[in-house]
C-alpha cells in the first residue's frame, strides 16, 4: 500500500502541475475566484459518486458542504486536495492549500512545533509557527509530544499546521466531528476568528447543519453526487441558534437532507 501511495505522490504532483499549467494557458479564471470546479465526475466501479459538479469559491468565502453520509462530500474535498487521481473534469485550485482532516494526523514522533512547521525550513517559519500556535491557544506546548495532547488540542495543532502555510484555500473535512460538544463550540469561535484574520477561501465538509449555519457564508447540499442546493446564509452576526432566520434556514436544509424534523424531533424527545 505504501508503495502505491508514495509512487502516487510523484506522479500526482506532476500531473497536477501539468494540469494547472494547461489550465492557466487555455482557460481564463474570473478575478476573485479562489477555486473553480467544472464538470467533476468520480466513479467507483459502477457507482457514480460525483456526477458533474460545478463549483466556484470566491476569495475569503466560507462555504459549507452538507450531505448525508455517502453523498460524496469527502470525495469532492479529496479531489480538491489533490488526493484523488481518479476524478475527471477540471479543477482549478490555488497553489497554497491546506487540509484539516477529521483526525489530527500529527506525526507522533515529532514535537508539536515540528508538526506545525513540518517541511518548512528556517527560523522565520519556526517563529511564525510559534505565533500561530499561540493564536490557537497552545503557546508553551511547542516541545510537547503529540501523545500528551487532548483531542481538541491535537486538532488545534493540526489547524495551526494548516494556517502556518497561509493557504488561499482551506479544506476542512469534518474537522470537529470527533470532538465533544463543548470543545466544538470553542473550535467554532476559534475558526471564525482565524478565518477573518487569514481570509482563505474555506470549504468545510460537515454533516452538522447548525455548524454550517453558524460558520458559513454559503451552504451547499450534495445529494447523490450533485449539488442540489446552493443557499446563501444571510444571518447577521453574532449568529444564534434561536434566531428566526436561523431556524428557517435550518428547516430548509434539514428538508433538503431528507430529515423530517417533526417526526424525528419527537422521536428524539421521547426515546422508548
Amino acid at each position: 500500500m505504501a508503495t502505491r501511495e508514495i509512487d502516487l505522490i510523484d506522479t500526482l504532483n506532476d500531473e497536477l502541475s501539468a494540469e494547472l499549467d494547461r489550465n492557466s494557458d487555455s482557460k481564463t479564471v474570473e478575478s476573485g475566484i479562489a477555486t473553480d470546479v467544472r464538470e467533476v465526475r468520480r466513479v467507483f466501479g459502477d457507482r457514480v459518486v460525483l456526477d458533474g459538479i460545478n463549483l466556484k469559491l470566491h476569495r475569503g468565502e466560507f462555504v459549507a458542504l452538507l450531505g448525508r453520509s455517502g453523498s460524496g462530500k469527502t470525495t469532492l474535498l479529496r479531489a480538491l486536495a489533490g488526493l484523488d487521481t481518479g476524478v475527471t473534469g477540471t479543477i482549478l485550485v490555488p497553489e497554497q492549500r491546506s487540509v484539516v482532516f477529521q483526525d489530527p494526523r500529527l506525526l507522533p514522533w515529532a514535537k508539536v512545533l515540528d508538526n506545525v512547521v513540518l517541511g518548512l525550513k528556517g527560523d522565520e517559519h519556526r517563529r511564525h509557527g510559534e505565533e500561530v500556535l499561540a493564536e490557537v491557544g497552545l503557546a508553551g506546548h511547542e516541545s510537547d509530544w503529540p501523545k500528551t495532547l487532548s483531542g481538541g488540542e491535537a486538532q488545534r495543532v493540526s489547524l495551526a499546521r494548516a494556517l502556518v502555510r497561509q493557504p488561499d484555500l482551506l479544506l476542512l473535512d469534518e474537522p470537529f466531528g470527533a470532538l465533544d460538544a463543548l470543545t466544538r463550540i470553542r473550535m467554532h469561535t476559534l475558526l471564525q476568528r482565524l478565518c477573518s484574520r487569514y481570509t482563505p477561501a474555506v470549504l468545510l465538509v460537515t454533516h452538522d447543519v447548525d455548524e454550517a449555519l453558524l460558520l458559513a457564508d454559503r451552504v451547499l447540499v450534495l445529494t447523490e453526487g450533485e449539488i442540489s442546493l446552493d443557499l446563501p446564509v444571510t444571518i447577521p452576526s453574532p449568529r444564534l441558534r434561536g434566531d428566526s432566520t436561523f431556524i428557517a434556514l435550518r428547516s430548509r436544509l434539514l428538508a433538503e437532507l431528507g430529515v423530517d424534523e417533526v417526526a424525528e424531533g419527537d422521536h428524539e424527545r421521547n426515546p422508548s
Binding site: 500500500m1 501511495e5 508514495i6 505522490i9 489533490g82 506525526l107 507522533p108 503529540p146 422508548s272
Partner: protein, 277 residues
C-alpha cells in the same frame, strides 16, 4: 412506556485499595531475592561437586577455579586482546550489514521495481542457514578476518531487512496523505515520515541482528582464528583447560548482554514519542 418496574438487583462488592504501589514493589524485590538464591544455590552445588572430586577439572572446572583464571587472564591482558579482536569483527560486520539491510528495505518498500527485484530473492536467501555458507565464504575471502566479518555482515542483513521492509509496507497511509497535502518532497517524506515511522520495527530488527552477530562470531572464530575469544577457546580445548573455556563462555554472555542492553537504551532514547512510554 409504562411505569418502570422496580426489581431487586443483587450487588457484589468490588475489591478496592488492594494493589497499591508499595505492595507491588515489595513483591518485586522478594521475587528478585528468590532468583538470586536460585543462582547461588546452583553455583554452590557446582563448587561442592568440584571439591568432592565428583567433577574433575578436565571435565569442568569449579566456579572458584574459573574465577581465578578469569582474574589471571584479565591481569595478563590475554582477555582484553581477545575481546578486542572479537568485538572488532562484530562491530565491522554490523556496520556493513545494517546499512545494507536498511537500504534494501527502503528500496523494496518504497518502489514497485525495488520490491520486485529485491524482495523475492531476499525471502529465498533468508532461509539459508548462514553458517552453512562458511565454506564458500572461506573460498571467497580467505581464512583471515575478512571471511568472518563478511559472514556476520551477511547474517545481520536479514533481520534488519525483514523488520524494516514490512514496517515500510504497513505505514499508515494517512500520514503519507498528510505529507502530500502539506507538499513534502519525496526525500522529505522518506526522511520525516517513512524512516521515523519504521524506527520501532528497525530497532527490533537491530536487536535480533546484534544477537545473531554474536552467534555467527562464535561459530566463525572457532575455525582458523589466530586471535579472539573463539581462538582462545580452541587453544584451551587442546589442553583440556576447561576453566579457560568457561571464562570465554562467560565473556560471550557478558558481551551479548551488554550489546542488547545498549540497543534497549537506544530504544528508550529514540522512541520517547511512543504512547505508553
Amino acid at each position: 412506556m409504562t411505569a418502570r418496574q422496580v426489581m431487586e438487583v443483587p450487588l457484589v462488592v468490588l475489591r478496592t485499595g488492594v494493589a497499591d504501589q508499595r505492595a507491588k514493589r515489595l513483591r518485586r524485590s522478594s521475587r528478585s531475592l528468590e532468583r538470586l538464591i536460585g543462582v547461588i544455590a546452583l553455583l554452590s552445588i557446582w563448587q561442592v561437586a568440584a571439591w568432592l572430586g565428583w567433577i574433575t577439572p578436565d571435565i569442568l572446572a569449579g566456579p572458584l577455579n574459573v574465577l581465578g583464571t578469569a582474574w589471571d587472564l584479565l591481569v595478563d591482558g590475554t582477555l582484553a586482546g581477545a575481546v578486542c579482536a572479537s568485538l572488532q569483527r562484530v562491530v565491522i560486520g554490523l556496520a556493513i550489514g545494517i546499512p545494507v539491510g536498511v537500504g534494501l528495505a527502503v528500496w523494496s518498500g518504497l518502489s514497485r521495481t525495488g520490491e520486485n527485484l529485491v524482495d523475492s530473492p531476499m525471502q529465498m536467501i533468508r532461509f539459508l542457514p548462514v553458517i552453512a555458507l562458511q565454506p564458500l565464504f572461506l573460498l571467497w575471502f580467505g581464512i583471515g578476518n575478512e571471511a568472518k566479518i563478511a559472514l556476520i555482515s551477511f547474517g545481520v542483513v536479514f533481520p534488519v531487512y525483514i523488520n524494516t521492509s514490512v514496517a515500510i509496507r504497513t505505514i499508515d497511509p494517512r500520514n503519507l496523505e498528510l505529507a502530500k497535502t502539506i507538499g513534502l518532497t519525496r526525500w522529505a517524506t522518506i526522511r520525516r515520515v517513512v524512516l521515523t515511522a519504521v524506527t520501532p520495527a528497525f530497532l527490533v530488527g537491530l536487536r535480533m541482528a546484534v544477537a545473531i552477530s554474536w552467534l555467527i562470531l562464535v561459530f566463525a572464530e572457532q575455525i582458523n582464528a589466530r586471535e579472539g575469544v573463539g581462538a582462545l577457546v580452541i587453544k584451551a580445548q587442546t589442553f583440556f583447560l576447561t576453566d579457560v573455556i568457561v571464562v570465554c563462555l562467560g565473556v560471550y554472555a557478558v558481551l551479548g548482554l551488554l550489546s542488547d542492553f545498549g540497543v534497549r537504551l537506544l530504544e528508550r532514547k529514540v522512541l520517547q514519542w511512543q504512547p505508553g512510554r
